[in-house]
């Protein structure tokens, strides 16, 4: 990046590092941090939406819908989440290709599953064999986002369902006494009040989500774990201008510090949000705030 980087062998330690840390592959490494943040930014709202729908379904008075919601919540409890990640990435990909195959190649008669192979016609391949590299990467990232959203949506549904049940029943009865319909009670009374009850669970979930982001590596994304392994490995002078020993330990130490920073910042932010939401609520937190301001 700098002009003096042309011949790294002649440089002092500090300058050498300034060159080393700004070479091309390191920018891919830094870019992968954006991938993690992007995943968080997209997954959090989508998972919350999935969770909201799941919780609504679980509350439904129509039994099949309620079973569906409750099943969705229950399924992620007993099984390790990483198993779901590995499962959904293949399952979703096959589901998409299968659907496209049915639509695009109706004349195809061979079975799709032949022994150990999953064969669809060329036009149904996702992404298409002719697509450029970036399409493949984006598709992989897209699958990862859906996978994360499904798994964390179930966790969120669990939390939101609990939050909806925690809203004092008298509130709902009052709404009914005012002549509100079930739908009105839900949207005008229940939903605005449930957040403060759901927030401890949701903040916990946000922490879990942050700490689950390195699992992107297992979904075949070139994320921070991938680059830390790549860049940290021993490099000889044959292949690079910047030979070094096995530095993977230091790269992962850096990731560790990065995540500690992320969780610490989130902790502080969520605490502030909780204070804000507790304001004027009939909870012990709200009571504490009221005393603080009047005293």
């Amino acid at each position: 990046m700098f002009s003096y980087c042309a011949d790294p062998d002649t440089l002092g330690t500090l300058r050498w590092f300034s060159c080393y840390l700004t070479n091309g592959v390191h920018f891919s490494f830094y870019l992968s941090f954006l991938k993690v943040l992007g995943l968080l930014a997209v997954t959090a709202p989508v998972a919350l939406a999935f969770g909201f729908m799941g919780a609504m379904a679980a509350r439904s008075h129509f039994p099949p819908l309620s079973w569906l919601g409750k099943g969705y919540i229950a399924i992620v409890r007993g099984v390790p989440d990483i198993a779901f990640f590995l499962f959904f990435v293949i399952a979703l990909d096959q589901a998409f290709e299968w659907t496209r195959h049915k639509i695009l190649c109706p004349e195809w008669t061979d079975p799709i599953r032949q022994g150990n192979d999953f064969i669809v016609c060329q036009a149904a391949k996702l992404p298409l064999g002719t697509a450029p590299e970036w399409v493949h990467e984006t598709y992989g990232f897209f699958l990862a986002i859906i996978t994360f959203s499904i798994v964390f949506g179930a966790f969120a549904a669990n939390v939101l369902f609990g939050g909806m049940r925690a809203v004092p029943h008298a509130q709902l009865e009052t709404a009914e006494a005012y002549g509100m319909s079930r739908r009105q009670t839900f949207w005008r009374i229940l939903v605005p009040q449930m957040w403060v009850y759901a927030l401890p669970g949701l903040s916990n979930l946000w922490m879990v989500l942050i700490k689950a982001t390195p699992l992107l590596f297992l979904l075949g994304i070139e994320d921070i774990v991938y680059w830390a392994r790549e860049l940290g490995g021993t490099k000889t002078s044959k292949f690079t201008q910047y030979p070094h020993g096995d530095w993977r330990m230091w790269y992962f130490l850096f990731l560790l510090v990065f995540y500690l920073g992320m969780t610490r910042v989130s902790e502080i932010g969520l605490e502030k949000l909780m204070r804000k939401l507790s304001h004027g609520q009939a909870t012990s937190g709200g009571e504490l705030l009221r005393k603080e301001t009047t005293a």
Binding site: R77, G78, I82, A91, D117, N158, G201, L205, L255, L260
Partner: protein
Amino acid sequence: MSCLQTIHDYGLRSLGIGERLLPKNDFTLCEQFTLIGSGMIWNVYFGIMALATGFLFATALAVGKASQNKWLRKPSEWFIFLFRGSPLFIQFFFAYFFFLSLKKSYPMFDAFTSAWLGALIVLFLNTAAYSGEIFYGALRSIPKGDIEAADAYGMSGWARFRRIVWPTMLRLAWPAYTNEAIFLFHATTLVFFSAFPAWQQRGDALYYASYFADKTFNPFVPYPILAFYFILLTLVIVWGFGMINKRLNRHLPAARQTKMRFRLNLAR
């Protein structure tokens, strides 16, 4: 090949006993059940060992964090923050490469780079931090009256801790601790997907499940089998911890012996 023969060949495959080569094609349902079940040995081993060793350390951490002494409190706080604030996955990677570089200078660290010891140490420290936080919360919510009663009986120091504080702490923390135990068993599936190598293809349940999914390109068989085993394991944990919970609460009047409710909210 009959199913009994398969169980004989692959039942202890994850420990390196039995057939050397994994099945290569024409996987039967029996083979998948047997191998994934064989892998569960590792999950159970990691889970039980980490829980057993982590329990004592967690108690020490909780007492340390609740201590008035700064020199005890600060290290405990930092330890808990370090392990609760970072992903277990990264901890595994870091520990593995850390042990690897130690091994280069001191050959006696050889065993630490293999999963049975290295990963176990990480899981031990991790669960100690999470349980320590749970125990700390319980320690702070011990009824004041209990401590005062102990004082009135002339108990202090070690006797008070062993006979009053510790049992009450456990009793209050138990439902959350059960949750933590379940999550720990789930976390053991990460071991062979982080840096720790599955030497001679001796892996855990998820390792074999993903082996089958990769070979057959069909995730709809091995992963549900894995889910079946884990739900079974979860039920066993809930049952076992429920028994202990009963014992911890046996002195309370029947009306206050609330049944442990497992609302498995996320502990981590």
